[in-house]
């Protein structure tokens, strides 16, 4: 048993314990448990301390189901390490922001929150396709309840839509997983990837395309990529603060993580063939998300649409097939988790004070609550990609990668950066500047200690990730290089095929 197994199963133990404990102590127990998980998970950093191993660490590979051979195979690498830490960091913060806000059915709430952590960590560390699918679906159930029970007015609609969208995408992925198993006799990600790399497993172009799409659609719904994004604004707006936080910061990353982990290395040919189309959708998403965010009267919806825009960058970076693009995309996953997570927390703070999500209900908040205004400003600046703050690094790398792949794409994608400054700054101006009305000033106390405690770790990370990217990027980069290599190798082999060669040669002769 490795440290990773403990990190993975501690939340499950916590979930079961919360069910047994009396409901008065569930809030405290959830806090203690999620903090404990976070502290333990910091131990996962050890192999990555000023060194950048390429392969798996903390690997456990034991048989789970004897036939068909499904294995409990979990491991960490440079790609999943930070996502796991993001989940373990945000869960105690989610508990903290729910402290006062959740006042009914408290026990179930925290139990579901901890169960969600179990599912999320599992998704990022599973190295067996069946195990991955299991966690993928398991994480769906607690989020469904979190939105459906503790959300706002239209919560039921939003929860059901969220569940059905994800389910519809993932059943096709299940079909593709079974198909892969039937061809290879294993569910092990590493083994299947090895077979594809060595050429012992070859699909016809059509089959590869279908398999790629089966995985891709499941992930694209989760990301969400335009035009599959419609569930996201509903889910975000209706979810309680902690639900939006976990959804935006971690759950959406399940989709982008899946793209990097599975779509690229397993189906490199099809991925390259589809890249222009996907990049097109990503760019549409970037601009569309930003424009729609611009006109939102509801601040939570605005942040939700900004997520569509930001995640467009991530998808674009992934499908440039360049080192910078991929590094930027993965880094941007973390950045978005930090800065958008912080935005949702702050929106939640404002809602707890004023009980309205309408932007027009605010104005001049900076006067009664200066600290809140400063924190919001830093987060806003981080979100629009100001240098020295985290999003800048990710967006810059993505744009650089995109420009080297296709300059035209980069031009359009850069528009998104400009738009993001427009909608965020305008939002800030409308809400925090101006003269505060009497009633608003009355109901707008400044940040409490608990609220500071929840937001400060994120502020620190914004600055840290923006100024010292070298603490995070190298280990990601090593992993990305390996993934990129695996998509390139095939291309070289493909060029070696005679038919292809003649085509290349004849084109060169022209």
């Amino acid at each position: 048993m490795t440290l990773l197994d403990i990190v993975l199963f501690l939340p499950l133990v916590g979930f079961l314990l919360l069910l047994i404990l009396p409901k008065e102590s569930s809030r405290m127990a959830a806090m203690v448990f999620s903090l404990a998980v976070f502290v333990v998970s910091l131990g996962l950093l050890m192999p990555y301390w000023f060194q950048y191993p390429a392969g798996h660490t903390f690997s456990t590979n034991v048989s789970w189901i004897s036939y068909p051979p499904i294995r409990y195979h979990v491991a960490i690498d440079g790609l999943s390490l930070w996502l796991v830490l993001l989940s373990t960091l945000l869960t105690p913060i989610a508990v903290l922001v729910s402290w006062k806000y959740i006042d009914h059915r408290v026990k179930e709430y925290y139990a579901f929150l901890i169960l969600l952590e179990f599912g999320l960590i599992g998704v990022f560390v599973a190295m067996d396709l069946f195990l991955f699918y299991t966690f993928w679906e398991v994480s769906l159930v607690p989020m469904y309840f979190l939105i459906g029970i503790w959300g706002h007015e239209r919560r039921i609609y939003a929860a059901v839509k969220f569940f059905l969208f994800t389910m519809a995408g993932s059943v096709l992925m299940l079909g593709a997983i079974i198909f892969l198993y039937n061809r290879t006799g294993t569910f092990d990600y590493g083994e299947i990837q090895g077979m594809i790399q060595t050429g012992s497993l070859v699909f016809s172009p059509q089959a590869e395309l279908l398999l790629f799409l089966a995985f891709f659609i499941a992930f694209a719904i989760k990301v969400p990529l335009f035009p599959l994004h419609t569930w996201l604004p509903d889910a975000h707006v209706e979810a309680p603060t902690a639900g939006s936080l976990m959804l935006a910061s971690v759950m959406l990353k399940m989709g982008t993580y899946g793209l990097v982990r599975f779509c690229l290395p397993l189906f490199p040919d099809a991925a390259r063939r589809c890249a222009p189309w996907i990049a097109g959708l990503a760019i549409i998403g970037i601009i569309y998300g930003a424009l729609v965010a611009l006109v939102q009267p509801n601040m939570k919806k605005l942040v939700a649409y900004s997520s569509v825009s930001h995640l467009g960058f991530v998808v674009l970076g992934i499908f440039t097939f360049t080192q910078q693009g991929l590094d930027g995309a993965v880094y941007q996953m973390l950045n978005h988790g930090i800065s958008t997570g912080a935005l949702f927390i702050l929106v939640g703070y404002l809602y707890e004070r004023r009980h309205s999500l309408e932007i027009s209900a605010y104005g001049g908040v900076a006067t009664p609550a200066p600290n809140l205004a400063i924190v919001f400003l830093i987060t806003t600046l981080a979100s629009i990609g100001l240098p020295m703050l985290n999003n800048f690094v990710g967006e810059y790398l993505v744009l650089q990668g995109t420009a080297s792949a296709n300059f035209g794409w980069a031009v359009f994608a850069a528009l998104g950066v400009i738009f993001s400054a427009c909608y965020m700054l305008w939002l800030y101006q409308r809400m925090f500047y101006g003269k505060a009305s009497e009633s608003l000033a009355h109901h707008m106390p400044d940040l409490t200690m608990r609220e500071w405690a929840a937001i400060v770790p994120l502020l620190i990370l914004m600055v840290w990730m923006g100024s010292f990217a070298q603490s995070f990027l190298p280990s990601i980069s090593v992993q990305n290089a390996a993934i990129l290599e695996s998509t390139k190798k095939l291309r070289v082999e493909r060029v070696a095929i005679p038919a292809r060669q003649t085509a290349e040669v004849s084109r060169a002769n022209h």
Binding site: F130, T134, F135, R155, V160, M167
Partner: protein
């Protein structure tokens, strides 16, 4: 040949022991019931449980081989299904006692009928002879017709029993007619002989076999409620007493699937190219009809009835795979579904209260706040019906679609998977009502559940989760028992 060689030997009886035990118990209950003084409490329930518990090891440990001159055969599949229907019987009896007490209909006949129905199903799954299949089917069906109308003063019970009986007899006639055609074509009703006749050089005309197969399929499709022969199922399952509905959706169906596999994947295997398209279409139609009709329902029993049609469709996908993996998938799925569905119906039984007053989905509003444990159990069953990982229902579906993809049924797999996404919608509705609505008067003053009912609910939940996390427990058995 001396007459003694035709007489059954001890080995034959040993292989037939579960049926013998259950028949004896059923008959004894009927006798004791007649002798019971007026007003004295019947303890037939306990007696039934003891009989079933005794039959369980007898079924599990029966030595493989033929019995009664090859009329019956005890093989892996027979053992699997006999065990399954006996376990089903146990769970049903556990969930019935409360119900009968509540409806003030506690009498021994009910238990005797359950036992006879199980005997019939045991005979069906061990039969190696079309006539034996027919006899088993009749024993099982006649007992279930009466069970469906057990509350004789209740109008819906009567409707249920009458519909079940009329359409059921009609379907049995089809089956019998098909058997006659088979006999005419091959000169035998023994499944092994039929297979031999079909594979020999002098095979009978294909058309004759086709007609026979079609007729037999119609008869069995009725029993498994496959479209287009599913019309009776919603009315019957809705009208029958809840524990009986639970029994009817799993027991007779499992046995009918066993027969379907024995006849089609065994004897008529050589004609597979002919019947395969029919099963393909039938599987798809059953899934679509079941799922889309279930979306509209507002009564939970009727919803579960349509869902049971849809699930028969999934199992037919595995039958269409026509392979060893396929038949193992059928067996595993039926086992997982048995736990799940009996559990769900047990919660409905508990919640329905006297006269099944509260069976609308909306009545479940806020159940999670008043009875968190029961709501959590129903959640497990519903998640298993949706097919969420770590439940038996998921692994069953996974294995079915694996078998289908193995057999290159790509389109059927894709359509089946999409169907299961549609199905999520109506199961989620129940979760929504239970967890996300405020409690109404229907969830107030719920009496505590009886001990036996609790055993049924929690036992089924444990079974459902166990099959999801450690499917090997049953899957290895099913794979060994698979026909090929």
């Amino acid at each position: 040949m001396p007459i003694t060689s035709f007489l059954p030997t001890n080995v034959d009886y040993a292989r037939f022991l579960p049926e013998i035990l259950l028949t004896l118990a059923g008959t004894l209950i009927m006798f004791l019931e007649a002798l019971r003084p007026e007003g004295k409490k019947s303890n037939a329930g306990v007696f039934t449980i003891i009989a079933l518990v005794m039959a369980l090891p007898a079924a599990l440990m029966a030595t493989p081989g033929p019995a009664f001159q090859g009329m019956l055969v005890v093989d892996g599949m027979a053992t699997f299904f006999r065990t399954l229907v006996i376990v089903v019987g146990l769970l049903v009896v556990f969930s019935s006692t409360d119900y009968l007490r509540r409806e003030k209909q506690e009498s021994g006949e009910y238990y005797a009928l359950v036992l006879f129905s199980i005997v019939g199903q045991c005979v069906m799954v061990t039969a190696n002879e079309l006539i034996m299949i027919f006899i088993g089917l009749e024993i099982s069906s006649i007992a279930s017709y009466i069970l469906a109308g057990y509350l004789r003063d209740d109008a819906r019970n009567n409707e249920s029993a009458l519909k079940y009986f009329l359409l059921g007899s009609f379907a049995t006639a089809f089956l019998l007619y098909g058997i006659a055609w088979i006999y005419g074509a091959t000169g035998s009703t023994n499944l092994t002989e039929i297979r031999r006749a079909l594979t020999s050089g002098a095979a009978p005309p294909e058309a004759m076999i086709g007609v026979a197969a079609a007729l037999i399929f119609v008869g069995l499709a009725f029993k498994i409620s496959a479209a287009p022969f599913q019309g009776w199922a919603p009315d019957v399952y809705q009208g029958a007493p809840a524990p009986v509905s639970a029994f009817l959706t799993v027991g007779p169906k499992a046995a009918a699937f066993a027969v379907l596999m024995r006849v089609f994947l065994g004897s008529l295997e050589t004609a597979a190219p002919h019947w395969m398209p029919a099963i393909w279409v039938c599987a798809l139609a059953t899934m679509v009809v079941g799922n889309f009709a279930a979306i509209m329902q507002s009564n939970i029993k009727r919803l579960l009835a349509y869902s049971s049609i849809a699930h028969a469709g999934y199992v037919l996908v595995a039958v269409a795979a026509n392979s060893g993996t396929g038949s193992a998938a059928v067996m595993f799925y039926l086992a997982a579904y048995a736990f799940t569905n009996i559990g769900a119906f047990a919660v409905v039984t508990y919640f329905g209260r006297a006269g099944e007053k509260y069976v609308a989905i909306d009545d479940f509003a806020g159940l999670a706040q008043r009875q968190p444990a029961m709501a959590a159990m129903l959640t497990i069953f519903l998640l298993s019906l949706i097919g969420v990982p770590l439940t038996g229902g998921f692994f069953g579906k996974f294995y079915i679609f694996k078998a289908a993809l193995d057999a290159n049924l790509i389109w059927l797999t894709v359509l089946g998977l999409l169907n299961s996404a549609v199905a999520a919608y109506y199961y989620l509705r129940i979760l929504v009502v239970m967890y996300m609505r405020e409690p109404g008067e229907s969830v107030e003053k719920l009496p505590p559940a009886g001990a036996l009912l609790q055993i049924a609910v929690y036992g089924s939940a444990v079974g459902t989760v166990l099959l999801g996390i450690f499917p090997s427990l049953v899957l290895d058995f099913a794979n060994r028992a698979a026909l090929r």
